[in-house]
Symmetry: C2
Subunit: 247 residues, 2 copies
Amino acid sequence: MAVPLDRIRIVLCAPSHPGNVGATARAMQAMGVSRLVLVNPQRFPDAEADALASGAVAVLHAAEVVTTLDAALAGAVLAIGFSARPREFAATVLPVRAAAAEALRYAQAGDVALVFGHEMSGLSNAELARCQIVATIPTDPAFASLNLAAAVQVAAYELRVAAHGGAVWQAPAFEPATQDEIAQLFAHAERALIALAFLRRAHPKRLLPRLRRLFARARLEKEEVNILRGILARIEERLGQGERSGK
Amino acid sequence: MAVPLDRIRIVLCAPSHPGNVGATARAMQAMGVSRLVLVNPQRFPDAEADALASGAVAVLHAAEVVTTLDAALAGAVLAIGFSARPREFAATVLPVRAAAAEALRYAQAGDVALVFGHEMSGLSNAELARCQIVATIPTDPAFASLNLAAAVQVAAYELRVAAHGGAVWQAPAFEPATQDEIAQLFAHAERALIALAFLRRAHPKRLLPRLRRLFARARLEKEEVNILRGILARIEERLGQGERSGK
């Protein structure tokens, strides 16, 4: 199941800043996308690229350098070009999320290239014409300017979620309270609140339902029920002591 | 409807690299998230931050600087802390997409803070304890290292998609062909292919269905039908000339 992302290549056309190449490599490696192709990079390899890769040197040092977009696309069954601005000759235009899904669908059949243009000017019309799909990242129309590596980051993130379903680390394991433990907790709470004279048995009003709602949202753990019952027991104990010492 | 994103604030705890602060401002501005709060930044303001904001100086120069996380969270009804690694005391853990949806739900009621930790060490346990939700970005477990601004980029992107439904620019307007124009095109194609002796009337086999399938996927435009019929007419014309000149 790890195969689909292995079939994705990220193609940067004429990147001018080595820092962007390094940051792109890092963005890719964090998402498990490892094949980077550079078409006529202005400077490569470069110390600044290494610095911004920040450990993602495996992707960076394995990058292929080619001199034409044709060479970068060789063997790919689908090319998806990224463009922030509307383009006259665009064929199919998809938001990046839908484009990532389409990329993975084609990755069943072969290699897929995601193509990014120059930092300032983006993909040329000739470059875009080589792509079957134009992908675009939703942005604020008033400032639709993503950094190159940031655009690759969003695209690689969507590829990862499409491939792996957005699995993330889980909250630590815990033991949930049983329903009868929770029922006993509320019975105990009612006794203690009556003893406190905060709750009147004849006029319970909405207090207990509100507390039930609060703890339902929290979904109590066994240990938390024990802590809360400990507090209730201490209240009852001190009230008993208070009454005794008051007499 | 623009209100929800206005109620989101991005909080950076003790960022050490001014470049990350600038890149964060750019990531936010591209997604229409404008409120940045810096808790004890190592250097701010800073020329490197301005350089990496790359035009997003509105967000950067409006950033608030405070000395405690409490001050950064003042007035917020929900705080969502980001952590790449599993944390022992995490309450609710959500992938960034679900966390963005929850952020917007709470933004109906008040301000929501998205909290990011130090570049190297992330959020401390004390900082994370101030957050009701821990959000995490799906990554390759083998290299779960996102740049700070890249993490903010993904989070702000998910906020924008959650708020605005991922609307992007559309393919240019075009006039689709009508079904009868398409039927006439295929009738014309059949005549021309028979004239070319590529198609035999007695054994049509699967040729026409395959061509229909190809053009169905492409969803023909009126102008494309005209171009294709022009080519077909030219074929018929040249075949007629060829036959005449051959005699």
